[in-house]
């Protein structure tokens, strides 16, 4: 390579890009040669490095929390429990749960609700084809006992009830009312309280 003479206008840009790791190997060779004993080049290089360092040491501000969503998982928790998340999403949710105590508690509550719904006893009569919009006391109906937590909550909301027994409809109706109240107060909330125990028919 022929001897290079440092020219700030021509080579300064190379120094900046060199500091940022954005040069080709050929350009790196040019910079290396320029910095080999040329005091003017070295001074230019050091001054650019100094500016770059000062910029990169600027303190980083925290974004105001009010600008961001609360960061919890919402309805993804139910899908997580039911194994309905694709692998990458599953991993993200797992990572979040490891770090977030709030979501761990909500996950446990959802799991208890899910287990409670899944362990509802089977019933004898067939499933009604028509789902009433409201609960009508003293009338026997059937519940679709299986399904996921969200489906169970929805089932309570539309007033499905377990048949048999003296009056289990009122118990579930009360649960549904409480759930509606809580869901209204906390948009996005779809968890049965952990203390709920569904009365056996």
């Amino acid at each position: 390579m022929a001897d290079l003479t440092f020219d700030p206008d021509e080579h300064g840009e190379l120094f900046s890009a060199y500091l940022d790791g954005q040069l080709t190997p050929e350009e790196v060779a040019v910079v290396t040669e320029l910095l080999d004993g040329d005091l003017e080049a070295i001074e230019e290089f050091l001054s650019l490095r100094n500016i770059r360092t000062r910029l990169r040491l600027l303190p980083e501000f925290e974004v105001p929390a009010a600008l961001l969503p609360d960061g919890h998982l919402g309805d993804r928790l139910s899908a997580y429990l039911d194994g309905e998340l694709v692998t990458l999403e599953h991993r993200r949710v797992t990572n979040h749960i490891v770090d977030c105590a709030d979501c761990r508690v909500e996950l446990q509550e959802l799991d208890r609700a899910r287990i409670a719904v899944r362990s509802l006893p089977g019933v004898e009569t067939t499933v009604t084809a028509e789902i009433p919009a409201t609960v009508v006391p003293h009338r026997r109906r059937r519940i679709i006992a299986g399904g996921i937590g969200a489906a169970a909550a929805a089932a309570l909301l539309v007033g499905l009830a377990v048949g048999g027994g003296d009056d289990p409809v009122f118990i579930l109706n009360d649960l549904a009312t409480r759930h509606i109240a809580r869901a209204s107060a906390e948009p996005g909330f779809a968890v049965l309280p952990a203390s709920i125990e569904v009365a056996a028919p």
Partner: protein
């Protein structure tokens, strides 16, 4: 972010909200403008995600961020009661003399003040590189200019800053 799955806007907010906020803060020196930009960008991300196709997510996001920032400046230009960032006055030809600039910049916390004196294109390139941490390729994609232009802008921006700041520290 190079995931094959499109992130949710909540993911975007948490992963990039801070970077977007700092980008805007360093460009404007103003926390209110920075907060406004974060809100606007997240709104645009939320609207745009359904039509986003997996690819260079960073490029897509920073293009949105840059456009939102420039739209904000244009709105302010239509409202004369709102002051432009100082560097934009500079870009419009009302630049202070070097002595005025030097006098206005105190030794403490002077980098931010110097940044605000840069013409917008240089300031943007420097902030995206040194504050946000984007590569030249990513900056080129966000600003829709060739990589060589990005390289030139970053260098010229740093040279201007060097002229305004005392050296060594």
């Amino acid at each position: 972010m190079t995931d094959e799955f499109t992130p949710t806007w909540e993911d975007v907010a948490h992963r990039y909200g801070r970077k977007i906020y700092n980008f805007a803060y360093r460009l404007t020196g103003n926390p209110d403008d920075a907060a406004d930009l974060v809100q606007e960008v997240l709104l645009r991300v939320r609207k745009g995600l359904p039509s986003y196709r997996p690819g260079s997510f960073e490029g897509w996001l920073w293009r949105i961020t840059r456009n939102a920032f420039l739209d904000g400046i244009r709105k302010k230009k239509r409202r004369p009661e709102s002051a432009l960032p100082e560097g934009d006055h500079h870009a419009l030809g009302s630049s202070p003399s070097p002595d005025e600039v030097l006098a206005s910049i105190r030794l403490s916390d002077n980098v931010q003040a110097a940044l605000l004196k840069l013409p917008y294109e240089f300031r943007e390139a420097v902030v995206l590189c040194d504050v946000v941490g984007l590569s030249y390729d990513e900056i080129a994609e966000a600003a829709d200019v060739p990589v060589g232009t990005v390289r030139s802008r970053i260098h010229r921006g740093r040279k201007l800053l060097r002229g305004m700041l005392t050296w060594p520290i």
